[in-house]
């Protein structure tokens, strides 16, 4: 169904794409992005796990209804299902506690309802290839399971019970309130019990945790079954199971209670819509629970964070650094080699020997180093010998790049790694590039003029530049909507920009023209970033997926699907094997570039995540959200290891210093704050138990870790960047209001 629905849309996309792709030239554009997506999507594959038979059956029903008999046969053969099995299961599925809808017909009728209404409703952000949610929508359809007026009784009964249990269990069981509340409310709405639903909401909405306010606001507007169609948040909520972590003791307590009271209604919801991750051991405290909850779909299951992540850095290529450099001061001659050695062991510097946690060097094929890249590496190494060692006593200087007269609205900023160029994305669809050094920006000459150049001359690279075009800034026109993300390629030859118009564009910084428009998201693309080695880039957008691209492919190489809401920010791991994405569903996910799997899910934020930063050694991840908090994560163990409170508004930028000692955060509240990252990472006591369960106890030490808070007058901090010598550059737009 999804494919049918998306058909015309795809065609349109292709038509629009044609003039966009300049570099690919005559490359065939007729390939259906959808089909490619499907095969490469890890999620689709995951959907056909044999244990998920209910889903399988629903798929079979769907296929049969569309008279795709061959596919049905193949699927049955592959899944090893017999007709009997299928039928009995189908009956089981429908008949579960619901008398009048006990056969497959009922299921079918629901399917038809959904399919009939879907085209009229707002298009689902999930694109082609991901037809799984639709099937799951069918499965997650609410059935009337009790008398509507009794819902209140059920809920308050449970509430009474939870309030009466021992304190240690109460905190854990209280987690049930929110998902139960939402599901019961939706069930009431779904079955057209509007007034009961309203009464239910009014009575119990006040009990919910304050960090669910945003969701509750959405819910309370929703009073009709029709409203549920096309509401992504609700679709997410219904299709995904809310994950709770409860200790075995607490769970037994709950189970016993529900069985005693014959509270089938609640029990069914728990069975169908919740996933209770039971662990052995001490129940968690309220603060422990609070620090981890808050996401749209509950906490992460423990097993999803068990996959091994190769967070180590890749081996640096061997490049001879000319040490007999003239600008090395004579008096330092003696001390220099020693100093360098000391740095090798430090947190941030990239080690020469193979890190045991590092992935295989060629796990992800990386582009060959060009001569210019080697030169840049040498420059980098030279610069890093002059780097200032930061510490709580020796804080970085901050330079602020203020965008003036940006009345059209600055939406994104990026610096090149060597801090020579600055790019800004604006609401008026333009991208502007500035040179922040005295060296002006020049275009390459036209083809006719290039013909006249002596190709053999030594300074041919200088000669191809057109002196007439030299200027401090260049404007790049091409997007059809605000530019939400910009990213320079590491070699400074390209610039990526992502926009509301659903495209990611690749610009050449030699000619200052657009080279490629990457289409695929179809909805606003919130962020994009080049891989640290160039060539690959990642983008994430309103369609709730992140995509991995290579600059020479017009279709994505990987689609990272799994977030329940918009992907708001995307970051590459320093070793380019992983991609981190932050989302409006208040989770951070880490994806493996090799196979597209989600290898980490971090929950704990209470608002949409707008910034991410990997530590230079690749071990840690920092994330900042609209709730004004920065959370620190240990990637290897999959644990939250710190919470930095202090900002009063959305954190739009995070950056570790080059050696990883300092974390800088920039926020809408017009401040830059510096945090002692070393201390934050060192202070964690990690015993086997916490490592195993992930239940770390965090004490609030934000004030100790905060090294400084720096105000700008009226400029929100949109971007932060540490130069190679550890000078902190901040950028933002002056706000006259």
């Amino acid at each position: 169904m999804a494919a049918v629905q998306d058909g015309p849309m795809e065609l349109d996309t292709e038509k629009e794409t044609k003039p966009e792709i300049l570099s690919d030239g005559s490359a065939n554009l007729s390939g259906n992005a959808g089909s490619g997506v499907l095969s490469s999507s890890p999620h689709a594959a995951g959907a056909q796990k044999p244990e998920d038979q209910q889903t399988l059956i629903a798929v079979l029903q769907f296929l049969r209804r569309n008279k795709l008999t061959e596919s049905v046969d193949i699927l049955k053969r592959e899944a090893g299902l017999s007709d009997d099995q299928e039928n009995s299961k189908a009956t089981d599925t429908g008949g579960k506690g619901d008398g009048d809808a006990g056969d497959a017909n009922a299921l079918l009728s629901r399917v038809s309802i959904t399919s009939a209404t879907a085209p009229q409703s707002a298009p689902l952000p999930l694109k082609s290839g991901d037809d799984q949610p639709d099937v799951r929508v069918v499965l997650s359809a609410y059935s009337q399971q009790g008398e509507p007026p009794l819902y209140k009784v059920y809920y308050s009964d449970l509430k009474k019970f939870i309030e009466s249990v021992l304190d240690c269990h109460r905190a854990e069981l209280s987690q049930l309130f929110y998902p139960l509340f939402v599901h019961m409310y939706l069930e009431l709405v779904y079955n057209n019990n509007e007034s009961e639903a309203r009464a239910f909401f009014d009575k119990f909405s006040g009990d919910q945790e304050c960090y669910y306010q945003d969701d509750l606001r959405v819910l309370c507007g929703l009073t009709k079954k029709e409203h549920m169609k096309g509401n992504e948040t609700l679709l997410d909520f219904r299709t995904s199971r809310f994950v709770l972590r409860i200790s075995r003791d607490s769970y037994q307590l709950l189970k016993r209670h529900l069985q005693e009271r014959q509270n089938n209604q609640i029990w069914n919801i728990i069975q169908e819509h919740l996933y209770i991750d039971i662990f052995d051991g001490m129940p968690r405290s309220k603060s422990q629970i609070d620090s981890m909850s808050g996401s749209l779909a509950g906490e992460a299951k423990r097993e999803v964070n068990k996959v091994k992540v190769y967070y180590g850095l890749l081996k640096e290529p061997e490049i001879e650094v000319p040490l007999d450099d003239e600008d090395d001061e004579a008096e330092n001659e003696e001390g220099k080699p020693k100093k360098k050695k000391a740095k090798k062991d430090s947190l941030g510097s990239k080690s020469k020997k193979q890190d045991p946690n590092a992935p295989q060097q060629n796990r992800i094929p990386l582009p060959e180093l060009k001569d210019s890249d080697k030169l840049d590496k040498i420059m980098y190494m030279k610069e890093s010998t002059k780097r200032i060692r930061l510490s709580p006593e020796n804080l970085p200087s901050i330079c602020f790049y203020t965008f003036l007269n940006a009345y059209q609205g600055l939406t994104a900023v990026d610096f090149t790694d060597d801090s020579s160029l600055l790019a800004g994305g604006f609401s008026d669809s333009t991208v502007r590039v500035w040179s922040v050094t005295p060296k002006k920006l020049r275009k390459v000459k036209s083809a006719a003029e290039l013909n006249l150049i002596d190709k053999e001359s030594d300074d041919v690279l200088e000669r191809i530049m057109d002196e007439k075009t030299a200027s401090e800034s260049k404007v790049l026109y091409g997007h059809g909507g605000p530019v939400y993300g910009v990213s320079f390629s590491p070699d400074r030859n390209y610039l990526l920009s992502s926009s509301e118009d659903g495209t990611v564009r690749l610009w050449s910084l030699q000619t200052f023209t657009c080279l490629v428009g990457y289409k695929g998201h179809n909805y606003p693309v919130w962020d994009t970033q080049f891989s640290p080695f160039g060539y690959y880039f990642v983008s994430g957008g309103h369609d709730r997926v992140a995509r991995l691209w290579a600059t020479d492919h017009y279709q994505p190489l990987r689609i990272f699907a799994g977030h329940l809401a918009d992907v708001t920010c995307t970051r590459f791991h320093p070793n380019a094997n992983y991609v981190a994405t932050g989302s409006s569903d208040r989770t951070v996910r880490l994806w493996d570039v090799l196979n597209g799997n989600c290898v980490r899910i971090f929950t704990g934020h209470k608002g949409p995540i707008h910034s991410l930063a990997f530590s230079p050694n690749g071990k840690f991840l920092a994330s900042g959200a609209t709730d004004g908090r920065v959370l620190l994560w240990d990637i290897g163990h999959g644990l939250m290891i710190g919470e930095l409170k202090g900002h009063t508004d959305t954190i739009y930028s995070l950056r570790f210093s080059r050696d990883g000692e300092i974390l800088a955060s920039g926020s809408m509240d017009n401040t830059v704050r510096l945090w002692d990252a070393m201390k934050a990472f060192d202070d964690i006591e990690m015993d086997d138990f916490t490592a195993a369960t992930g239940h770390i106890h965090l004490y609030d030490n934000s004030q100790e870790l905060l090294l400084g808070s720096y105000n700008s007058k009226s400029t929100s901090v949109i971007h932060l960047h540490f130069t190679r010598r550890n000078l902190l550059l901040a950028a933002g737009m002056y706000n006259s209001q």
């Binding site: 007269n405 909507g481 739009y652 105000n711 929100s716």
Partner: protein
């Protein structure tokens, strides 16, 4: 249900019904209620979605555009016409409890012709400043916003009104104070566009010299203010100044109005802006040159415009003169000649103007010659020290590389390479094929135009410039011209004294008469020089070997052209003026205005230029002041 309705803002069913009626649909109560509810829900949904666009645009204020984007995202038509930045007034109509968004009619013509300053016209830019050094302390308050984005505070507005009133008002003392403040005030960045706008009003006061002058002074103050970043406003300022230089101002209709001074001042200002702020706008130099050239090559333009073009070029430095004025001179000369040769009474005024132009050109080309010679010397001899000794070396150098084009001016060059900008002019630009003319060729061509008057100018240079002139000229003489060497200089330096004495007849007698009058030289300078060169090469060589040998020999060559033999009277007149000129430094202007009514000397024959000397002397008076101070070269940067 009352409680529900208080939860959100809702669209009442009455409104739905009204809207339906508007489109000609009759709705039942039931349908309207359902629709109203759905509309409310969809609106809430869209609002919630729109907040996402606000967050990603890193704003705190939800805009109409955000809402429209949310609508577009859900395949709904967006609503146009509410994108204004200002809040829309929402007005009630008392009689029938109707609320509506005010939608006034706008007079487009009025809007288009409105003269109020547009807001937010400034270009987006990035400004960097060190906020915190080593994590400590705010070094300086964050940079002020220099332009229109900053809404003006009341104080600034008051300041602006007071200052403009003072500058354009009657009280000269007040004006001076205001200008001085404008020059040093560090807090007026936000007012810059306003001042620039006021200055662009030159076009509307072209009848009032006084106002124009005041506006130019305002430009000067702004340009000199060290706290102002002019940015692209330079362009606007330059165009205002150029207007004063080039346009046939309404004020110039009345010959009693001294618009010449205004043009001179404006030209001075132009060069000042260019030298201090020329790097802010790329291609500025080229643009200025183009417009000056356009005026100069347009014979329809009045002479005062031409005058402006010449002084403008002169102000931009000798390179500009060399590249624009000099190649245009032959063509222009014919026109000017016609004016100068017309002695009818009706032409008197035009002729007087023509003299001004003549004088301005003369001053410009003299400076060109001088600077060119100077640059040659510096390039070849490495400075003016030990010039006497370096003469021989210079000779050697010149001879070893004959036909070498003059090296670029070593003292200072405009920050934008001249050549690149000239080439940027594209096809049709006469400079494309411009090749530097060698000094002697230039000199003799110019000499053919100006004759003696040029020589005199040449000779009255201060010594440190005069010597290199001679020494660099010398090798050229060796090759082409039978001129004397350094001795030539000796005599020319004495010229002012001679003029003061009015003792010219002995020299005239002493100098040998030449076969070629200047008019002939004008027609075929190259040939005439070639002809004479063979006879005098040996002599000039010998003179160069012993510098400063005798003055008598120098006079053999130089005065030969300077004093056309047939006229004994006019030269005497010339020198009187010259002497007076020496005595009255820096009062050229008054002198000149008093000159205007003097009748032209009709008795003199045409094609002899010496008779124009008096005019030249007067017109060039203020310019002399510049040459003395080398103003375009030694301006503070």
């Amino acid at each position: 249900t009352e409680r529900e309705e208080r939860r959100f803002v809702e669209v009442p069913r009455e409104s739905i019904k009204l809207m339906a009626e508007n489109t000609g649909v009759e709705l039942s109560e039931e349908v309207a209620a359902l629709l109203a509810e759905d509309v409310c829900y969809r609106l809430r949904e869209a609002t919630q979605n729109s907040s996402q666009f606000m967050r990603h645009a890193k704003r705190k204020k939800l805009s109409v555009e955000d809402f429209n984007r949310a609508l577009r995202c859900s395949n709904t038509e967006s609503i146009c016409g509410y994108g204004a930045q200002d809040a829309l007034p929402f007005r009630p109509l008392k009689e029938c409890e109707l609320f509506f968004v005010e939608d006034r009619e706008i007079n487009l013509v009025e809007l288009a012709l409105a003269t109020n300053i547009p807001k937010g016209c400034a270009e987006t830019m990035v400004r960097v400043h060190v906020s915190y050094l080593d994590g400590k302390g705010n070094l300086e308050p964050q940079a002020t916003v220099p332009t229109a984005v900053q809404s003006l505070s009341d104080d600034l507005l008051k300041y602006y009104q007071q200052v403009t009133r003072a500058i354009l008002g009657e009280d000269p003392h007040l004006m001076k104070v205001a200008l001085l403040d404008l020059q040093y005030n560090s807090k007026i960045a936000a007012l810059l566009p306003y001042f620039v706008y006021v200055i662009s009003g030159v076009k509307s006061v072209s009848h009032d010299l006084d106002q124009l002058n005041r506006l130019l002074h305002m430009v000067k103050s702004l340009v000199q203010n060290p706290y102002l970043y002019l940015g692209s406003y330079v362009r606007s300022l330059v165009s205002s100044v150029m207007y004063c230089i080039l346009e046939p101002l309404a004020a110039s209709i009345n010959p009693l109005n001294d618009h010449w001074t205004l043009r001179d001042y404006a030209a001075l200002l132009l060069s000042h802006i260019f030298w201090t702020h020329g790097d802010l706008v790329s291609g500025l130099y080229h643009q200025i040159l183009l417009s000056l050239q356009k005026v100069l090559s347009d014979p329809v333009r009045p002479l005062c415009s031409h005058y402006g073009a010449v002084v403008g070029l002169h102000a931009l430095g000798w390179k500009a003169v060399e590249r624009v004025l000099y190649p245009h001179l032959p063509a222009y000369w014919a026109n000017l000649q016609a004016v100068l040769d017309d002695y009818s009474v009706s032409n008197a005024q035009v002729k007087a103007d023509g003299h001004k132009v003549y004088g301005a050109i003369l001053v410009a080309v003299e400076r060109l010659l001088k600077m060119k010679a100077h640059s040659l010397t510096i390039a070849a001899g490495g400075g003016s020290a030990a010039l006497e000794g370096s003469v021989a070396r210079t000779v050697g150098f010149r001879e070893s590389s004959p036909g070498l084009s003059p090296p670029p001016e070593p003292i200072s060059e405009p920050p934008l390479g001249i050549a690149s900008h000239l080439h940027a002019g594209g096809a049709g630009c006469p400079w494309e094929d411009w090749t530097p003319v060698s000094l002697p060729a230039m000199y003799c061509e110019l000499y053919s135009f100006f004759g003696d008057s040029l020589a005199m100018r040449f000779s009255t240079d201060p010594p440190q410039v005069g010597i290199p002139t001679a020494s660099s000229c010398q090798p050229i003489h060796n090759k082409k011209e039978p001129a004397s060497g350094a001795t030539n200089l000796e005599s020319t330096r004495k010229m002012p004294q001679l003029t003061a004495n009015m003792n010219i007849s002995p020299r005239q007698d002493e100098s040998p008469h030449t076969e070629q009058p200047p008019s002939l030289a004008a027609t075929a300078p190259g040939r005439s020089f070639a002809r004479s060169s063979s006879s005098s090469v040996s002599r000039s060589r010998s003179s160069s070997s012993q510098a400063g040998r005798s003055t008598s020999q120098s006079r053999e060559v130089f005065p030969k052209a300077r004093f056309p033999p047939p006229q004994a009277g006019p030269p005497a007149f010339t020198f009187i003026i010259g002497g007076r000129q020496m005595g009255r430094r820096c009062q050229g202007r008054r002198f000149q205005t008093s000159f205007i009514p003097t009748p032209p000397l009709t008795s003199l024959p045409p094609r002899v230029y010496a008779h124009k000397l008096p005019v030249i002397g007067r017109v060039s008076k203020p310019v002399r002041r510049w040459t003395a101070s080398y103003y375009s070269l030694y301006l503070p940067f």
